[in-house]
Symmetry: C2
Subunit: 618 residues, 2 copies
């Protein structure tokens, strides 16, 4: 473990020094951790392998079940001190990984997945060394994994590059593929700690889980604001059963019908806080319509401090997760926080944060397709010899027609079309596809047909088509060809495709097309290969989803057929590593069946063996 | 001031008791504050007019420039204790208003606007007693007003009803009209306090204001995450000028070019924290490309505690607002927070909250149209006698044709149309409006023409129009009529209208129509009368705004003409109080000029004098 700085992060000479390290590691088989890191702090076994003076841990390291992997020395040291002295959360292992010359986040993640002392893993990362491996580990990790990824914005990514020479990657891709792998996304440092300590509090639910929450409060206003947040974080305010109402009514004043949020103040005025809390916990813990309990306490003041241990006991006995919001006098608040940490009850000082963490625990995203390596047909598609030849030999963009021939070969439905070279063939196409007909001019190497005025839509008759075809042929450069297509009607436009992400490799993309693409920025990514159910999960995350479900009487889009296209796109790109990009735009869904109307496959500029089979694209 | 509970909030007998109070107040001219409240706490003068035992304030009330108006007794007491013991913020006056039998939030707001000891006003409200008055006060208030409105969600609104018998109102309307009046919206209690204390720290900017922020940090990671948040909250990471770079480079190691966020750690290793901070503050405070400074400190550890007073002095001398994020050992953090409160420097423990509050201070929304009563033409429209008669006498929904005649009379552009009763008139209309022509069947009292299959679009020829007209006449019930309309082409559909909000009265609405309305929930409200510039501000807040600005080569929508429609809608509804609702759907914008294609005006069911002039609508 090399903790010293002065390596790759200092450029020039330091980078050479780090290369030496890497070489020595490879030659000797020694694993190297660092350089430029804070090392490892392990409160469970009281081991501090860190340059940070052990004296600063005097206030006592709190052992717990959260392990951290942090790509920042200063931050991990600073945060450990903050967490420890504020008694925020117990730590199992805090690992600062620095420049990652050898040991990286995936190595440590792998270790922590098997570590019996770790219940939750939180990571702050600026880059991911091996995105594929990291995703696989997250996928098969039964423990919650929380990731804060720095460099989501353009300026943040620029700062990440200068901080740890990290390529932050496309923020949208990172977010989506981590979600696909079941990772909980964090935004800020303390918020990440709050998510970790909440998820560490135990299995999220009793026998059946669920998101129906009872709110027990001393303040009507806090109950109202809690309900507002629960709606926006996707939790339900439980509808209490008649038995719970009846129970509450034994302490409630006559004029006040019990309701959830349960405002306990008037009952406390009559029966005192202790008796009221007891009845309230009995009512909601015994209510089958309640999955979890969110209590509000005020401490250090006129109400007397509530008995947290009895709250925890009641919830544990009922198998219901318990969350709390507290405010009050500082000394009492601190004492209660320390007690809550021991009892394993997540307490928060802001209602919004409490509800956000509660939602993360109760609605913890499962891995689409189940934990572990997903099952699915990941065999490569069988293309015709010409398609195979193009994908092995061509360089740059394939034209629309060739691209769609390959997509068709891979089982992706494409619009009916044919190349026409003169009037008789245009007439044939018109008879075959019907009118209105579409004609497009294909100039080799150019992918911008519309801008070059080479697209003729809605040709309503044979004479119109023949005239348009004649005009297109005249406008095309030598080597150009004309494509005749059946016109596809339909309102809903989608886009779909494949990109090769520098961190995660082949990723499939699906999104809203047409006007919506710029308004909604509605694109969802998933790492390939993806299972049919992962593809369905992608489709469900589209903002334009209501349009796909049969909006205003239109035919609903066949989700299964759409998912199949995404699965096949991923298989195709994985089978042919020279595919750099596939872009289907638009993917029309009129009539419910998705169909590729225009598409481009872009290949690497030259194949590795140097035997490029076609001219480079413009 | 009546602090006891047991009034309207307890129903039946309590409500009668509260009515008695109101009557006594009216008869005697005595102003009444309460009942069911915590009263008033005034730390500046050390006055506690509250049933809460003065003993709990022993830890010392901190005097400051934030005044609070809170519609919740428990919460205001609880929060005061929390704020005081945590030394979070200094208070001028904390007012708990309870059931508001007489003195309400507007009365107190009016007082605090003129109160020299109050710099910022924060309100927690479940209802607004007189929405119009409240808006007017906010509009002309030169001090920042921060409002947390409980009951934004359906469940929250239900809880508000049972808590203080408050009608929470439509969350979207409340949010928009408060924004129109320049109010800062809060979401949560502590977040509201954070906004208040930030805004209380002083005038938001130096000579010219601005949103270009320099980030000074000890942690590259914290700098990256700060930049990520700044982008999402609409602040700019300042591009430092060459002089600032040069200055920083005097302490930076050679291999590290200065950049913003400014990562000071390597410089601190070389020159110590004190010298490094000094140079860093000199560099960014002297840089004309920097409008504000956001510093990160770690305290209670290996870096030594930074000298906050010198940071504050440097920023004050440069006239630049200063904000800080801190973490570290609890005791040192608490000490530094107390010092920051004295120095008037807003310090935060979460980066996201710091950036959010910084954005609220640096981008504080002005009142559209300027502070104070906005200027504008608010005269009532002059309608023809028939229009006036309908608006005074009719009850329920006016049919499409009558509605648009009135809108036209009020100066709102409507599609050309006429009533046709037979074939010759249909032919006339076709000659006048051209083909394709639109025919619609108008059955008295029914506003659902499409569902009743009474709309014929795109009639492309005279025979088609005549046949369609014959069919419609046959299908219509007695008293029905047929409307012939010019067909308006165009892609962008908007909606516009007027509602009568129970809290704020006449509000104008503008939104995206067609498919987008359900996807984007894109509606913006403004209280009428509104100025032309307020109407423009509404249009600028539409999510579909890119579509209006000339999307993909389409003609940009005439914003001035659209704003004029909104202004006129408000004037019309204010002039005729029996108008309950106006609904223009769609408002087409093809060709850039907005034009009402279909519209309905809904009037009160019966006029107050009982002389209703028409049959009630179905």
């Amino acid at each position: 473990m090399i903790q010293s700085a002065g390596f790759a992060e200092t450029g020039g000479a330091g980078r050479r020094l780090q290369e030496d390290l890497r070489r020595i590691g490879e030659e000797t088989g020694l694993r190297l951790w660092g350089p430029n890191c804070m090392g490892l702090v392990d409160p469970v076994h009281g081991k501090i392998l860190s340059f940070v003076s052990p004296a600063i841990w005097d206030e006592g390291l709190i052992a717990g079940r959260v392990s951290l992997i942090v790509q920042s020395g200063m931050l991990s040291a600073g945060f450990l001190i903050d967490i420890m002295t504020h008694a925020t959360m117990g730590i199992s292992k805090a690992c600062s990984i620095g420049n990652k010359v050898d040991v990286d986040e995936s190595d440590l993640l792998q270790y922590l997945i098997d570590d019996a002392e770790t219940g939750v893993i939180g990571l702050y990362l600026e880059s991911i060394a091996d995105g594929r491996r990291f995703l696989e580990l997250c996928r098969r990790c039964p423990k919650p994994v929380v990731v804060l990824k720095g460099g989501r914005s353009e300026r943040g990514a620029r700062a990440a590059l200068s901080h740890t020479a990290s390529l932050a990657g496309d923020g949208a891709v990172v977010r989506d593929v981590l979600k696909q792998a079941g990772v909980v996304e964090a935004r800020d440092f303390k918020q990440m700690m709050d998510l970790c300590r909440t998820l560490a509090a135990g299995p999220p639910a009793g026998p059946k889980g669920g998101d129906r929450v009872a709110v027990l409060t001393f303040s009507g206003a806090a109950g109202i604001v809690s309900a507002d947040f629960m709606e926006s974080f996707g939790l339900r305010v439980a509808d209490l059963s008649p038995a719970a109402h009846e129970k509450l009514q034994t302490v409630f004043p006559e004029w006040m019908p019990a309701a959830n949020p349960v405002d306990l103040w008037p009952a406390m005025e009559r029966h005192g806080p202790d008796r009221t809390w007891e009845v309230a916990f009995e009512a909601v813990c015994g209510d089958p319509a309640v999955d979890a309990v969110f209590f509000h306490v005020f401490c250090g003041g006129f109400l007397g401090d509530p008995d947290l241990a009895s709250f925890a006991a009641a919830a544990r006995a009922a198998g219901k997760p318990l969350f709390g919001w507290l405010l009050g006098a500082r000394a009492a608040v601190e004492q209660m926080q320390a007690q809550a940490l021991k009892l394993g009850v997540p307490l928060f000082q802001e209602i919004e944060r409490a509800v956000e963490c509660m939602a993360a625990a109760l609605n913890r995203p499962g891995v689409a397709g189940g934990v572990g390596r997903p099952a699915g047909d990941f065999s490569p598609p069988r293309l015709d010899p010409e398609g195979e030849r193009l994908l092995h030999r061509h360089a740059g963009a394939l034209d629309e027609h060739r691209s769609k021939q390959i997509l068709s070969g891979a089982g992706i439905p494409c619009v009916e079309e044919c190349v026409v070279s003169g009037e008789p063939e245009i007439r044939d196409a018109g008879r075959r596809f019907g009118y209105p007909l579409v004609l497009k001019g294909i100039a080799d190497g150019s992918v911008h047909k519309t801008e070059a005025d080479l697209v003729r839509l809605g040709l309503s008759s044979e004479p119109a088509a023949v005239a348009a075809g004649r005009d297109l042929i005249r406008r095309l450069p030598p080597g150009g060809k004309v494509l005749a297509q059946r016109q596809v009607e339909g309102r809903t436009e989608l886009i779909a495709g494949v990109i090769r992400d520098p961190q995660f490799g082949v990723c499939v993309m699906c999104g809203a097309g047409g006007v919506l693409v710029e308004l909604l920025a509605d694109r969802v990514f998933a790492a390939a290969p993806l299972t049919h159910s992962e593809a369905l999960a992608c489709i469900d995350r589209l903002k334009c989803r209501p349009l796909l479900e049969g909006f205003r009487g239109s035919v609903p889009v066949d989700r299964g057929a759409l998912a199949d296209i995404l699965v096949r796109l991923g298989r195709l790109a994985l089978a042919f590593p020279r595919i750099r990009e596939i872009d289907i735009n638009p993917l029309m869904t009129g009539g419910g069946r998705p169909i590729a109307v225009d598409a481009t496959i872009v290949l690497d500029e030259a194949d590795p063996a140097g035997n490029s089979g076609g001219p480079p694209a413009a």
